[in-house]
């Protein structure tokens, strides 16, 4: 994610640049590249003039996403304003065998929105209208390019909010959230994107517009809404989303508990959940992370701690006191080094300040870092952190761990130097080892950032060849020609649909 890093994603067979390409993209279709001018002209007829981009300088902002290690200029970018325009572009691309890469805000950390040389990017940032807010039935209908925070902003004046809150919420868009099934710090209580949706306007690769779900809870028939959510742009495009909105709680407050070992902090987490308390957030930071955050935010984190828990509860003041005291009593059994219960909203913010700035804090002590995203059974945390420590020594690269402790989602931040090709290669290998370890202990490759290009080739660690073939076949049922965001999610190896 370091801005200094620039690495070109090369297509098979293309001359190699300064670094060895780490990611392979399928060979571009020569006939499409050859027709580039004609395609731009056709798109210009389908869409308003300002909605088609072909000049290199204006394509540049679209060459990468949140995984900025990889870059690839697309054939063209289109910025439709309506569902009909999206359908028109898809219909045209389908008829002409042109690949498409859907794009929201481009904050994907797995390279999900990375363009292909022969692909048209369809960016939805201009579809940014809130279409309807209904408090009686507690839903909002928004276009796919509305930002995550934009939904909450539209309803918070009336005491409501949209629950999933990825850290990228100022920028990322609801269409991207749907396609990545994004989570957030509060998903332990409120669930991820999939659990907060009612309906979609979906456009197939053929350019057919279908409404899936609506304003009601249960679909009759196959659960298309569930299948499409988290499908990373493989099955079709989403142009409108109906989300559930919830009434905000009366209040919320955080506490911090510091422990002398990772094991003990893990036991405290188990004891809290075992006692039937589900906090809205339950975050874990290891020592390197505590130090990075403290140097950055001066939040008052104890530097002698091996692990810190940040725990947030909701309710009236009396309920917050009741819950925080229960949690404090539980933590007391594990001999914490220190505990701090916020007594005000300001103190809560101070406790959160370090954690919220964790990525930036690590960015200050290392020129670049990779943000990993595996999930493990929470009981495996001590073992996994020990192994990550050993790997860190082996690769000679630092790592700081933030962990959504309630749901097992681990974010190791691997520090490296992007100006050193060897350092980047090691960081990628280190990251892959961590994800394989997650699978080995019963977890998975990705808890919320998606597979994208980043983890595509690791899918074989989690699925059998037949299971992958089955998933590919389900994609083919939606997109027989593999025009939609190809080269993501599934390993290229053994994929006949993408063979040259």
């Amino acid at each position: 994610m370091g801005p200094a890093l620039s690495r070109v994603a090369l297509a098979d067979g293309e001359a190699q640049g300064h670094f060895d390409p780490m990611i392979r993209l399928p060979p571009p279709k020569p006939e499409i590249l050859a027709r580039r001018d004609g395609i731009l002209a056709d798109l210009g007829r389908l869409l308003p003039e300002d909605a088609v981009i072909g000049e290199a300088i204006r394509l540049r902002p679209y060459e990468t996403d949140g995984l900025s290690a990889y870059r690839q200029m697309p054939l063209a970018v289109t910025l439709p304003r309506t569902t009909e325009e999206v359908a028109a572009v898809l219909r045209y691309c389908h008829a002409n065998g042109i690949r498409v890469v859907p794009r929201g805000a481009g904050t994907s950390l797995s390279g999900g929105a990375l363009p292909l040389e022969d692909a048209v990017v369809i960016g939805l940032m201009r579809m940014n209208r809130i279409l309807e807010v209904n408090y009686d039935d507690r839903f909002a209908v928004v276009e796919a390019g509305v930002t995550n925070i934009g939904i909450t902003k539209a309803v918070e004046g009336d005491g409501f909010f949209y629950a999933p809150d990825p850290s990228s919420q100022l920028a990322c868009m609801i269409g991207g959230n749907v396609m990545m099934n994004s989570g957030g710090a509060h998903c332990l209580k409120y669930g991820v994107t999939a659990n907060n949706l009612l309906g979609l306007t979906f456009v197939t690769i053929e350019g057919e517009v279908v409404r899936i779900g609506g304003q009601h809870l249960d679909a009759a028939g196959y659960d298309w809404l569930g299948l499409i959510t988290g499908s990373e742009g493989q099955l079709g495009m989403v142009t409108e989303v109906t989300v559930r909105i919830l009434r905000s709680p009366e209040g919320a407050r955080a506490m911090l508990a510091a422990f002398s070992s990772v094991e003990v902090a893990g036991q405290a987490v188990d004891a809290i959940i075992g006692a039937g308390v589900i906090p809205v957030a339950l975050e874990f930071m290891d020592k390197p992370c505590i130090h990075a955050c403290e140097a950055f935010a001066h939040a008052g984190y104890p530097l002698d701690a091996e692990a810190v828990l940040i725990i947030e509860v909701e309710g009236s003041l009396a309920e917050q006191d009741m819950l925080l005291n229960r949690i404090k009593e539980i933590c007391d059994r594990f001999e914490p080094i220190s505990m701090k219960l916020a007594e005000s909203a300001e103190q809560s913010l101070a406790i959160w300040k370090g954690r919220k700035g964790a990525f930036g804090a690590v960015g200050r002590i290392s020129p670049d870092y990779l943000c990993m995203d595996g999930t493990i059974p929470t009981g495996e945390l001590p073992h996994v952190l020990k192994r990550i420590g050993e790997m860190s020594a082996h690769y000679g690269l630092g790592v700081a761990n933030v962990f959504h402790a309630g749901d097992g989602n681990l974010h190791p931040l691997i520090m490296f130097d992007a100006n050193d090709a060897e350092s980047f290669r090691k960081a990628e290998a280190f990251g892959a080892d961590i994800l394989r370890l997650c699978v080995e202990v019963g977890g998975c490759l990705t808890g919320e950032h998606g597979v994208g290009v980043e983890k595509r080739d690791l899918m074989v660690a989690q699925f059998t060849p037949r299971e992958l073939a089955l998933q590919r076949a389900v994609k083919s049922a939606f997109d027989p020609g593999w025009l939609l965001n190809p080269a993501k999610v599934f390993p290229l190896e053994g994929n006949e649909a993408l063979a040259a």
């Binding site: 309710g315 009981g379 097992g408």
Partner: protein
């Protein structure tokens, strides 16, 4: 569908299930897939010479209370899972119904059955549906191959989520052999407010007010006909809180004050509250006649009074509303006319319907689910041929000829 007993295969291993499917495939013989067959009367009858039952595939295979996950083989009775959870003060979040009492049946549901049918109870309104809590599955495809999707951790976005596809597919896309669910601590205490309302529109307004409050309501139902065993005269709106005892007391107090402007409010605590919600969950207040038909309609809650009025106009409908009004249980005569009225009312309100139970004469003759738009139906057909290329799993269960 009355499969002769010797035509029922009930393997006690996953490999046995796979073998049975492969044998059926080789013989080109369709299979009726079921757990204990208790929902045979749901949707459409399956025309199959043989039945493959997962009833012998039983047992909890993993339970980690502190990780909030439980896994069990598909034939495990739901009651057994609920009992294991209760020992650790935990619960199935979606509160799946147990409809035995209503239908006079002896055996209870299996895990594969409630997941296959995506059946959720009252807690669905704020806690999510069965499908929201299916973390992982193992299943046998129509080609007799075992495959997995998801896993045993709470957060997982690795690959296409086939768990969602198989949940609610009524056994038409694969035979579930094992399911992993997210579970939750059961509230320490529970209490219910019962608000007497003059009509359904006012009842929906009560539920909407409660669900728009910051008090974490976990059940919101409307009983048009009341429920005599609990001393509830209809129409009555029910609002539930489940949490730590201090919270339940506090929130019921606040809600009571907020809802008293709608009508007379009474309070049910502990056992009577639990009994009320068990009745709602299992559709007891619907009072469906055994020979009649039962539908479920899913709509935006504010559309429910209109749906109810249209149905009452068309036939002597009995009604029960759950999910803040978003789920309308309907019972009435098992006639094509009544079914047409249900279809029309759901369509006008922008919602969906399911012919939940009906004599075969009706369920085999009508669409038991709404038509899908043509592009989706085409995709659905292709997805079916990916997972069950020969079409041997539960043919005709959801739609005629599919």
């Amino acid at each position: 569908m009355s499969a002769a007993l010797d035509k029922v295969t009930a393997p006690d291993t996953e490999e046995g299930v796979a073998e049975a499917v492969r044998a059926a495939l080789a013989a080109r013989e369709p299979l009726a897939v079921e757990g204990r067959g208790t929902k045979r009367a749901m949707l459409r009858p399956v025309q199959a010479a043989r039945t493959l039952s997962t009833r012998a595939l039983t047992g909890i295979t993993l339970y980690r209370p502190t990780e909030l996950v439980i896994s069990a083989r598909a034939g495990t009775p739901v009651a057994e899972i609920e009992a294991a959870l209760a020992e650790k003060n935990q619960m199935l979040i979606a509160e799946p119904p147990d409809l035995r009492a209503l239908f006079g049946a002896e055996e209870g549901a299996t895990l594969g059955g409630v997941v296959g049918a995506n059946l959720s109870g009252p807690r669905r309104i704020t806690g999510g549906a069965m499908r929201d809590h299916v973390l992982g599955i193992r299943a046998v495809s129509g080609e007799g191959e075992v495959f997995r999707s998801g896993g045993r951790v709470l957060k997982n976005v690795t690959g296409l989520d086939l768990c969602k596809l198989l949940t609610g597919a009524y056994g038409t896309l694969g035979v579930l052999t094992e399911v992993t669910l997210k579970v939750q601590p059961a509230g320490e205490a529970t209490g219910t407010l019962a608000v007497r309302v003059p009509d359904l529109a006012e009842g929906i307004a009560v539920l909407s007010a409660a669900l728009s409050s910051p008090f974490g309501v976990s059940g919101a139902a409307l009983l048009p006909e009341g429920h005599a065993p609990l001393g509830l005269d209809g129409p009555v709106a029910l609002v539930r809180i489940e949490d730590f005892a201090e919270s339940v007391t506090y929130r019921l107090g606040r809600l009571r004050a907020a809802l008293s402007c709608f009508g007379e409010v009474s309070m049910l605590e502990g056992a009577p509250s639990r009994a009320a919600w068990r009745a709602v969950r299992d559709a007891v207040p619907l009072g469906a006649a055994p020979e009649g038909a039962v539908w479920r309609i899913s709509v935006a809650p504010s559309r429910a009074p209109g749906v109810c009025a249209a149905l009452r106009e068309a036939f002597p409908a009995r009604l029960l509303l759950d999910w803040g009004g978003g789920l309308v249980w309907v019972s009435g005569p098992a006639t094509a006319e009544a079914h047409a009225a249900v279809m029309a009312a759901a369509a006008v309100a922008g919602g969906t319907f399911t012919l939940f139970r009906a004599p075969e004469a009706l369920s085999a003759a009508v669409a038991v689910l709404p038509e899908e738009p043509a592009p989706l139906a085409a995709i659905g057909g292709r997805v079916k041929s990916v997972l069950d290329p020969a079409g041997i799993l539960n043919p005709g269960r959801m739609r005629a000829g599919a």
